[in-house]
């Protein structure tokens, strides 16, 4: 069996008496989409934040690409290749779409050297190539010079994904990329993510069940901070615990 690229080992996190993560373990294998589902407040976003480094872990370890990254900061993990998208679009709103993407490309380039203090960044061919590449992959070319605050919600979601692309990460951590998208938008993004898994595996938190069952190689169900089941789409669909705890009889057919 191939080694997992991301290996979350027995992590726990409490906020006072509330156990947001209760001894959670999961793995992400190369080339797969592993979806994380669960009712509101189950601790999905908390888990993503612990993997990306935004939240400190109380107990347990996060292994990424064969190394223990538990003690590393968000920045260090991003540099190693953890590409995160945000549940609520987290973009530089005063910048144009292209400026946002060049900013992303800058991060991938490994930060800012001293020589770069006097070179106009928006004319840098290497950065522009990365930015424009990501732009065309998500289909936002015509909005390249639009101010981000003027984009529609759906376009911002697309830009959010494009930002992760500029990093050429080894793993994507996607926190509800479909949130607030219409049927057509979700459908398009589903097709896109289906292709993307060949570039880098995706740990996907998503509420859109159609998308999850269409995409995911494996699904883990999180309820009250605990993983109650992990398996393929079919296994999850037919799991009696999941049916009662989360999906509800009528949705599970």
């Amino acid at each position: 069996m191939t080694d997992p690229i991301l290996d979350v080992r027995n992590i726990s996190k409490s906020f006072g008496a509330l156990k947001a993560s209760d001894n959670v373990s999961l793995t992400l294998l190369p080339g797969e989409i592993h979806a994380l589902i669960g009712p509101n407040g189950a601790g999905k976003s908390t888990l993503i934040k612990q993997v990306s480094g935004g939240l400190k872990i109380d107990a347990g370890e996060v292994w990424f690409d064969g190394a223990d990254v538990t003690g590393l900061s968000t920045v260090a993990r991003a540099r190693l290749g953890l590409g995160r998208t945000f549940q609520i679009s987290s973009l530089a709103m005063d910048y144009t779409v292209l400026q946002n993407l060049v900013l992303g490309a800058l991060g991938h380039q490994g930060g800012i050297g001293l020589a770069a203090y006097f070179r106009p960044v928006m004319k840098d061919p290497a950065l522009l190539a990365v930015a424009n590449g990501a732009l065309s992959q998500v289909g936002l070319e015509e909005f390249s010079n639009t101010r981000t605050s003027e984009l529609s919600h759906g376009q911002r979601r697309q830009l959010e994904v494009a930002m992760a692309l500029t990093l050429s990460p080894k793993v994507f951590l996607m926190d509800e990329p479909m949130a607030g998208l219409g049927t057509e938008g979700s459908h398009r993004l589903t097709g896109f993510l289906d292709e993307l898994r060949h570039k880098a595996p995706i740990l996907l938190v998503e509420h859109d069940m159609d998308a999850v069952f269409a995409l995911a190689d494996r699904i883990s169900v999180l309820v009250y901070g605990k993983i109650v089941a992990t398996g393929t789409a079919d296994e999850i669909r037919n799991d009696p615990v999941v049916r009662t705890a989360y999906l509800g009889e009528e949705d599970a057919t």
Partner: protein, 327 residues
């Protein structure tokens, strides 16, 4: 060409034309006023680099203005008294040379900005405002109680410092020096703002979480910006001291910090020429309204209120409208 670029060119030409006209009319006082506007503009451009681009609301930039001023005052007072600044471990003499004084002013204000920034930038928001204010006040009271360099009375320098090949006592020549430095500072700042550093700094201002997620540490960007910002403001402090041939702890007072911020608000925050327009307007108002009443600040306050309420982007935005910033 952008409307803002044209406006910027007009502002620079206007700033150059006024003293030349005054030279023709034999009005040296107006040349001095223009010089003061140019020096204040440099201070404003310095603060605007941290405030407008990096979103760092510093209410302590008087510290760097004052350090620049005292760099000039201390070096020049030793030179006019023929005493060394320090004798141990090595003898350092005072100097009358402007370029050396500028370099010392820049070096020391950058050093202080680095240290103050390193500590203050661990906080943000209101706490950052208060802690920068506190550092400024600390230096203010330190200068007041340091008798070696005049304490509360400050230092009087009898002769303006020299620049090779120029007669700095001639108002128009001193104006020329300050104006050239302003252009140089504007050039450097505009290059920095368009560089990858500027893009990342502006990105961090708008969204810190995102900047971290792409692998860039905002703290480091802020610290570099704050240091450069302090260095520029320090340079203007040295020039201001040379304009008046006098330094006093007032340069360190929080009112000075406030005034520098007022230039930026009047002209337009985050715009390259915002503080230039603001400083020129401030001097103009001070001169015109100051002639009407001793309490001219009350009118300034009303104007400031108007700008904040009805013209958020300052005078520049009022004229050219909202455009995508620096592209």
């Amino acid at each position: 060409m952008h409307k803002e670029t044209i406006l910027n060119a007009c502002v620079l030409l206007g700033l150059l034309a006024v003293p030349l006209w005054a030279l023709q009319m034999d009005e040296p006082f107006i040349i001095t006023l223009a010089t003061k506007a140019v020096i204040f503009a440099i201070a404003g451009v310095g603060l605007n680099f941290a405030l407008g681009l990096g979103g760092l609301v510093s209410l302590g930039h008087a510290a760097f203005f004052g350090i620049g001023g005292y760099a000039m005052g201390i070096l020049a007072s030793h030179a006019q008294g023929y005493t060394p600044v320090i004798e141990w471990p090595l003898t350092i003499e005072g100097t009358n040379s402007m370029p050396i004084i500028w370099l010392v002013a820049i070096a020391f204000s950058a050093l202080f900005a680095f240290v103050i920034g390193a500590l203050s930038l661990r906080t943000s928001g209101v706490y950052f405002i208060m802690i920068t204010l506190a550092f400024g006040q600390m230096l203010y009271f330190f200068m007041i109680s340091w008798p070696t360099y005049g304490g509360e009375d400050g230092l009087v320098i009898y002769v303006r410092n020299g620049f090779p090949g120029l007669n700095t006592l001639d108002p128009i020549q001193f104006f020329g020096i300050c104006f050239t430095l302003l252009c140089l500072v504007l050039f450097i700042v505009s290059r920095l703002a368009q560089s990858s550093f500027g893009l990342a700094l502006g990105g961090a201002r708008q969204n810190e979480e995102r900047t971290q997620a792409i692998g860039i540490v905002p703290y480091r960007l802020y610290l570099i910006a704050f240091t450069i910002s302090g260095a520029i403001t320090g340079l203007s402090g040295a020039l201001f001291a040379d304009l008046n041939r006098f330094v006093s702890p007032t340069m360190f007072s929080w009112q000075t910090s406030g005034e520098i911020m007022v230039f930026i608000i009047l002209g337009g925050m985050g715009r390259l020429f915002g503080p230039v327009v603001g400083a020129a307007l401030f001097i103009l108002l001070e001169h015109l309204l100051g002639g009407l009443s001793e309490f001219w600040h009350i009118y300034l306050g009303a104007i400031l209120l108007g700008v904040v309420l009805f013209a958020r982007g300052g005078l520049i935005q009022l004229i050219v409208g909202r455009e995508v910033a620096h592209d």
